[in-house]
């Protein structure tokens, strides 16, 4: 047997799959590994973030990784001056995203400390007030974004434009609305990170203390002590449960039984005497709670409940059936809180004097800042991006109607900056009185790009590039992505490891045996059967409604603070995250044993 590798291949030695040649041109020049920079790029370790970006990027979709990564970095590097960590550099290779944390040179760290104390200190002192301010701005941006429209340029400008001396035509609005759409998205991504890393470092402080006071304390124990039970992330699912209960209470259950679409259900319910009450509740729940995606908000094709009512209605139908079979629909909130208090109480009892005070102080702060870590995801990734993609798609449909391409989603094959000249092309043809050039140019180009993206999607990404550091100690790398020194060793494949045992983070406790169902796209969720074990590259909080059906979750990537881990703990479902290769190693139908307390998945067949 060969001795284990200590290094991953270089991206420069990792060519694209056949048919994807020329893929680099689909993405911004600063995001691909440039040939003339090989030396410096190969000196860095890059890991694939398939947790947030499990699929190949279409050109427009780069906006998510760009906005997210850059804004994360700015808060570390330029706002709070986090002493040991700057931002996280990123590249796109073979269509997938790779991160490389940027450390601060040791000699520069001491000078950063006073700035961090002052700036982060201000946020910790004024957390509640600043958070309220955050909410106001985020919601205002969403509202403004929601009000943007993209309309076809008219045959003639309205008469009022002339009589009121407006002095410009609707192309001005078209251009400004497009630019404003991008700007507002950027502003909310800036807001996304305003508190996030401060929440993480407060958590890390508590985490480090627990590891010192209680050597080898399970990571899960620490997470459980801090988590709340009422994140706004779970509200959409809670709303569906309420609607299901209401339907049963109003005697409407039969109307839901055989319908196969939301429209059918609504038609049947409308005929019932108490139907109007239910329909009013259904409509009221949608804003904002149906701004919720079964994807993760980073892809233009992510399905949102508000736009695809069949999806949430299907969950409601499922809940009605389960309630009728005697199942309790609520999340076990009381139990979760009781367990949280038991755990914190028992660890606290082991301490006395200053250590006990420190424990309570750090725990208190971690609990105060933690809700943001969960909640922000709803406001930005779900709600903001839901509105964003809806607007992008509406623009895409408009341009399709104008003949620029033939599919609704073809706009995604352009980068956001290519849309501007296209809008000018459209406005120009309209203004000059000819046809725009786009309809004879873009279809072929989009077809070419479609082939390239499809070719890239044939291969799963390499987990990492180049030599990993001896120790991973950048806090966010560890906590959010679950990239630890251990994890990296596992990816490299240790000698003598049992190939039927996958190891990962013990993200949510409990052990179960069952049949695997490998899910690689949210569309497959309907295939899940009761009691199966969900195996996926990554899961999303909006998959919540299926968590009542499954017996355990296994993911490829994700740390203790990943959404998969958080959701599983909330729902009391065992989970092992960050296995690296579960979705590519396990096949549907295999019998597994998942131990969420030990962090192992055993293939039993």
């Amino acid at each position: 047997m060969n001795s284990p590798a200590t290094s991953f291949p270089s991206p420069y030695d990792t060519p694209a799959p056949a048919g994807a040649e020329g893929w680099q041109e689909l993405y911004p020049y600063n995001l691909v590994f440039q040939d003339n920079l090989r030396d410096q790029e190969d000196r860095k370790f890059w890991f694939c973030d398939s947790q947030h970006w499990p699929n190949v990027f279409k050109p427009f979709e780069v906006i998510g990784v760009e906005f997210a990564s850059r804004c994360l970095g700015a808060y570390n590097t330029r706002h709070y001056i986090i002493p040991p960590a700057n931002g996280i550099d990123f590249r796109i290779h073979n269509g997938y995203n790779y991160f490389s944390p940027v450390a601060v040179a040791p000699e520069l760290i001491p000078d950063r400390v006073p700035h961090f104390l002052q700036r982060a200190g201000h946020y910790f002192q004024n957390w509640g007030e600043l958070l309220e301010n955050w909410r106001k701005d985020v919601l205002a941006n969403i509202e403004e974004m929601d009000a943007l429209t993209f309309e076809a340029l008219p045959d003639m400008v309205p008469l009022e434009t002339v009589t009121d001396g407006v002095g410009h035509d609707p192309s001005v609005t078209l251009f400004e609305n497009y630019d404003r759409l991008i700007q507002l998205a950027y502003r909310n991504w800036e807001r996304h990170f305003e508190f996030l890393n401060l929440g993480y470092v407060a958590y890390l402080d508590f985490f480090g203390f627990c590891k010192e006071a209680f050597p080898d304390i399970p990571d899960l124990a620490i997470a459980k002590m801090v988590m709340g039970v009422d994140s706004v992330l779970f509200r959409p699912d809670d709303e569906l449960k309420k609607l299901a209960t209401l339907a049963a209470d109003l005697g409407l259950a039969p109307a839901f039984a055989d319908a196969t679409s939301a429209a059918e259900v609504l038609a049947a319910v409308a005929k019932e005497p108490k139907g109007a009450e239910w329909i009013a509740a259904w409509e009221a729940a949608q804003e904002p709670w149906f701004n919720y995606t079964s994807g993760n908000g980073f892809y233009g094709t992510d399905v949102y409940w508000r736009d695809s009512l069949d999806l949430p209605m299907g969950y409601v139908q499922d809940y009605i059936v389960r309630a009728a079979a005697g199942e309790t629909l609520g999340r076990p909130k009381d139990e979760l809180l009781a367990e949280r208090d038991r755990i914190a109480g028992e660890y606290a009892e082991l301490l006395s004097g200053e250590a006990a005070e420190t424990f309570q102080g750090k725990l208190g702060l971690a609990r105060a800042v933690y809700p943001y870590v969960e909640d922000h995801n709803f406001y930005i990734e779900h709600w903001t991006m839901g509105v964003f993609w809806r607007k992008v798609r509406s623009l895409g449909r408009l341009l399709k109607e104008q003949g620029f391409w033939s599919n609704d989603d073809d706009i995604l094959y352009l980068s956001r900056d290519e849309v501007r000249p296209l809008l000018y092309d459209y406005a120009n043809g309209w203004a000059v009185g000819t046809d725009p050039i786009g309809p004879s140019y873009w279809p072929a180009e989009i077809a070419r790009r479609t082939k390239i993206v499809a070719a890239l999607a044939q291969a799963r990404p390499q987990p990492a590039f180049n030599e990993p550091p001896a120790e991973i100690n950048e806090p966010f790398t560890i906590m959010l992505w679950g990239i630890t020194t251990e994890q990296v060793k596992q990816w490299l494949g240790s000698e003598g490891d049992d190939p039927n045992v996958l190891k990962g983070m013990a993200a949510s406790g409990g052990a179960v045996e069952g049949l695997a169902r490998v899910i690689t796209t949210p569309e497959q969720l309907g295939e899940l059967e009761q009691g199966e074990i969900l195996v996926a590259p990554v899961t999303a909080p909006s998959w919540g409604p299926v968590f009542g059906k499954i017996s355990a979750t296994v993911t490829d990537i994700g740390g203790m603070m990943s959404h998969a881990a958080i959701v599983c703990r909330e729902y009391g479902v065992p989970a092992v995250t960050g296995t690296g290769r579960a979705s590519t190693t396990i096949t549907t139908g295999q019998r597994l044993r998942v131990d969420g307390t030990a962090g192992t998945v055993t293939i039993l067949d």
């Binding site: 402080d205 203390f209 010192e212 899960l220 082991l350 208190g364 100690n473 030990a598």
Partner: protein, 357 residues
């Protein structure tokens, strides 16, 4: 209350269990049984019984005479005098009342067990297991004793074990006088142990109170306790009850009962030597017992437990003994370097995180 019931004390008796009457071991067994823990049934022969035997004649004075002027550094002399005293005790007549009480309690135990079963006979001294003494005597535990006459014989031998050389020297060195020295004896149903071991509700390596540490090996626990077998070692987090460390030992020998009613010490076959002697479910059960025992006593415990091959899963983990842990409980709790909370503390943590590499 008649004298009869003062000489014996069944473990499930609900009257107050006094240390002077029962000694540390028996008292603990009574408390644990009454707390609803899975303790094999049995009874104590109380210190009052021992006193009744010793006080029938001038035996105590005779013993004092034998010990008078003993130089405890003269091991040959100590051995000789200790042997002489033990002879005296073995020959001492037992009052009718004590004998009747013992036989009655023994019969009740056999009835409870559905017929004659082997028992363990163990001494439970009032001086031996004082909280700050970690001395545990040898020659004071007899296993797999079948039949009442054998049991009575072993009870006497337990009484006599108060005067082993080691015990005499230990008391002399620690200033424990013979005045009022007394002993109880535990008679307890033997466990047909598939696996047995010890558990501590504190990490014996460093005093970490957030752990339960369990050692386990095949058969009865005696080989493990005496250090003659390298056991499996497990560390569990006490709050989460999850295994945080495990080392499987080379369990080369085991002490097991044979079909003909004796104990045999034999080699373990290769496959079982390096296979875990306890499942994770059973580990959690043992840990649960240890945690409950600690809570009940209000201090860290040192337990002996066994898994009975004759009982069904879920009911087969038994508690044999629980006594206060003596080494770390006296010391101060863990020192942590991280203190305070808020941005200064957070900054220190961030920097400390780096220095860990």
């Amino acid at each position: 209350m008649s004298l009869l019931t003062d000489y014996t004390f069944a473990f499930d008796r609900t009257d107050e269990a006094a240390h002077e009457q029962l000694g540390g071991k028996c008292r603990s067994l009574v408390i644990m049984t009454n707390a609803g823990m899975p303790v094999p049934p049995g009874f104590a022969i109380t210190t009052k019984a021992f006193d009744a035997v010793m006080d029938q004649t001038s035996l105590r004075a005779d013993i004092a005479a034998v010990l008078d002027g003993l130089d405890t550094d003269d091991t040959a002399e100590v051995d000789a005098r200790a042997a002489r005293i033990r002879e005296l005790i073995m020959a001492q007549p037992v009052p009718e009342a004590v004998r009747d009480a013992t036989l009655h309690a023994y019969q009740q135990l056999m009835d409870l067990c559905g017929g004659e079963v082997p028992v363990a006979v163990r001494s439970s001294a009032t001086a031996e297991d004082l909280p700050d003494a970690s001395f545990a005597g040898q020659q004071d535990t007899y296993l797999w004793i079948l039949g009442r006459d054998n049991v009575l014989q072993k009870v006497r031998e337990c009484w006599a074990s108060l005067y082993t050389s080691r015990a005499i020297v230990y008391r002399a060195a620690n200033g424990i006088t013979d005045e009022g020295l007394s002993m109880a004896v535990a008679v307890q149903k033997m466990v047909n142990a598939r696996t047995a071991g010890v558990a501590m509700t504190i990490d014996p390596a460093n005093g970490d109170r957030s752990k339960i540490v369990i050692d386990a090996s095949w058969g009865l626990g005696e080989l493990l306790v005496s250090g003659e077998v390298t056991p499996d070692n497990f560390r569990l987090d006490k709050v989460m009850m999850s295994v945080v460390g495990r080392v499987i030992g080379d369990k080369h020998e085991e002490l097991v009962p044979t079909p003909d009613g004796t104990l045999v010490r034999r080699e373990v076959e290769p496959e079982r030597r390096t296979a875990p002697s306890i499942s994770d479910d059973e580990l959690v059960t043992v840990a649960g017992l240890a945690k409950a025992a600690e809570r009940h006593h209000g201090c860290p415990q040192d337990l002996e437990w066994a898994i009975d091959a004759d009982l069904p899963p879920g009911q087969n983990v038994l508690l044999l003994q629980s006594r206060p842990e003596t080494v770390w409980s006296q010391k101060s709790t863990t020192q942590v370097t991280s203190s305070g909370y808020g941005v200064e503390a957070i900054t220190k943590s961030l920097l400390a995180q780096l220095n860990r590499s």
